[in-house]
Amino acid sequence: MLKVTNLVKEYKDVTAVNNISFSVKPGKIFGLLGPNGAGKTTTIRTVLNIIKPTSGEITYNNKTIGQEFFNIIGYLPEERGLYKKSKVEDVLIYFAELKNLDKHTASGKIDEWLQRLNIIEYRNKKVEELSKGNQQKVQFISAVLHDPEILILDEPFSGFDPINQQQIRELISSFVDSGKYIILSTHQMETAEKMCSEIFLINKGKEVCSGELTEIKKRFSSNNIKLGFEGDAKFLSSDKRVLHYDHYNNYAEVQLNDDIKPSNFLKSIVDKLTITHFSVVEPTLNKIFIDVINQSSK
């Protein structure tokens, strides 16, 4: 298990990370979320052992992370960059050698990966001759080439078109199946919602919300329903069980009191209106994110 305990990182006059703790379990995607400047990058860099924490500890299988962990970590930084004037193959071999892979093994794996991501024909091309999407693919390969146990992905989908995004998503899912430790840092809440089973929300260096995604959603669910109907629904706005009522063109959003079960509510109105649609609305991660961040920023 990858465990971060009481991590603090102070710079001269700012505390970038203020006493956060979390643990990442194998075979699951851990979402590290937060607005710009929240402390995500600093957290990632301490986990990568690029910078040393002011205090706190990061352990992997009960051992403090150190230099020997360089070779089992794969990292895809948010801002992408490769040696533009060098050949795709050379760059990949170089990065693989830095992860202690020998040239021969690396070469075989590079072939496999380039084929898998349909860019084998660029093997001997210079990086600058590739399209942006294909450069991103090369970068992605460089992060996973040495088959790392821990994979840290910072905005892995930015710069990809929807088809490639799908391809990368499937790849990441396959890593989940093979039991890797995956930390995914992103702003895209829809992505996090689809992929992460556990999230950690950070703002101004502090934890603001964390836990299993389903559990968090339950915690923030506010008994909302979406209602499609024909007829006059004005009476709902004065109904005592309704906390909040929003009427749109074809449907309405209704927030019920916490003790009212949506199914009972449906039973009671089904005679008065012609219901065309009825669903219980879960709060989106996006909404939770905005609400929580706004609240903690106050």
Binding site: F70, L82, K85, F95, L98, K99
Partner: protein, 414 residues
């Protein structure tokens, strides 16, 4: 260590293949050749036509002898270089002839016009009148010729023994002989000392500046496209620093070796006296240590830049630091025993250059070699330590360059 080697290999191979490297390999010697050969060609090229020189001397004392003397100068094809035309005409006055010849010279009939004015019996002024400014070689030849003619006239007049004249004319020459161990006479002279020391000092400077710039540039590229994050998540900063220093040093060495080979091929090994390599072993030690010292200094300071402009600023400051020893060493050659030179031997940035020079001028006591080397090694180690610390933080810092206070706090960071 494996990773250091991988980094060194990458830096070397990727840079050696670049156009910039190949161009600098060719352009630099080409510029040196251009500056050293072309002016010589231009000057010597002037002597391929015979020059018409008008000659006016109302006394008639000089024409014949001077004509004999100056006709010693010939063109490559054996034709005379100068043809003197005696312009004296009994019926015209000196001023009339002068005015006429000036006009003719201006129109191009004569290349120049020599006019002798008498101020008294032995005092004469000679004017070389021409349309443009006269060639300094012409003036030199004529003034030599006049000198000779004038002296020989006086010898004849006073019937002086020519041997005595020759005795007066001969200068005294002092031969410099360096005494070496076992009472042997060394062959060291100014040129040997100059070549052996100065070539090394210059090579050191060029190599450091070249590799230093490459280093700063490669760091800047990696910083600006964030490759640095991948690198430092794969190896520790010290390995990265060492790899870069090794790789780019090898690159600088390659370049210098190729230039030396070009130089030797073009000019023959005669240019560099073999004497220059007598002290090669201690010289190499100073050279290599000096190189490592300066390169690590470059890396540490170079890691704090994040834009092209800053990189240029920093590299030019560092290049100036590199030039200081060269500037100091030139005057130092005049007086190698001065206490200033002794002091400079113990200041790390001048130690390599000054010691490279001292080793060739006079035997340096062993204890001094040991002391300066020790000091250089210690300061190199300190530089490596400091640079590594600055490097570790500098490579991840963006934006404004840190000021001295911030740098100090970086050094304190664990």
């Amino acid at each position: 260590m494996n990773k250091t080697l991988a980094i060194a290999k990458w830096e070397y191979l990727e840079k050696v293949k670049t156009k910039a490297f190949i161009i600098s390999l060719i352009i630099t010697p080409a510029i040196i050749i251009l500056f050293s050969v072309v002016p010589t060609l231009l000057v010597s090229k002037e002597d391929n036509t015979t020059r018409m020189i008008g000659f006016l001397d109302k006394s008639g004392m000089y024409f014949n002898d001077l004509n004999t003397e100056i006709s010693k100068h010939t063109l490559d094809n054996g034709q005379p270089l100068y043809v003197l035309v005696n312009l004296d005409q009994k019926e015209l006055s000196e001023d009339e002839i002068k005015t006429k010849t000036d006009e003719a010279t201006f129109k191009g009939k004569y290349d120049s016009f020599i006019y002798i004015k008498y101020g008294g019996t032995d005092s004469i002024t000679i004017e070389l009148r021409s349309k443009g400014i006269a060639n300094f070689r012409d003036i030199g030849r004529f003034s030599d010729a006049f000198e000779t003619v004038r002296i020989s006239h006086r010898i004849q007049q006073d019937a002086i023994d020519p041997d005595i004249v020759e005795f007066f004319m001969r200068g005294v020459k002092i031969n410099q002989i360096k005494i070496e161990e076992g009472g042997k006479e060394g062959k060291a002279n100014f040129e040997t000392v100059f070549f052996s020391s100065f070539i090394f000092i210059l090579l050191l400077m060029m190599m450091v500046i070249y590799s230093g710039q490459m280093l700063v540039r490669s760091l800047l590229e990696e910083k600006s496209n964030r490759i640095i994050e991948i690198l430092v998540s794969s190896c520790n900063p010290n390995e990265l620093l060492a790899g870069k220093v090794f790789g780019l040093s090898a690159l600088g060495l390659t370049q210098i070796l190729i230039w030396m080979m070009i130089g030797i091929a073009l000019a023959g090994s005669a240019v560099i006296p073999m004497e220059a390599f007598k002290n090669i072993l201690p010289m190499l030690v100073y050279f290599i240590l000096g190189f490592i010292f300066f390169t690590t200094l470059f890396v540490g300071i170079g890691s704090i830049v994040s834009t092209e402009q800053e990189a240029q600023q920093i590299t030019s400051y560092l290049s100036i630091i590199m030039v200081i020893p060269v500037v100091i060493v030139f005057p130092a050659m005049q007086n190698p025993d001065s206490s200033l030179i002794k002091v400079l031997s113990y200041i790390p940035i001048t130690t390599p250059s000054v010691m490279l020079l001292r080793l060739n001028i006079a035997p340096v006591p062993l204890w001094e070699i040991a002391a300066t080397l020790g000091l250089l090694i210690v300061s190199t180690l300190i530089t490596i330590k400091f640079s590594a610390k600055i490097f570790r933080i500098g490579i991840l810092a963006y934006g404004k360059m840190p000021n001295i206070r911030e740098l100090k706090s970086w050094l304190r960071e664990k």
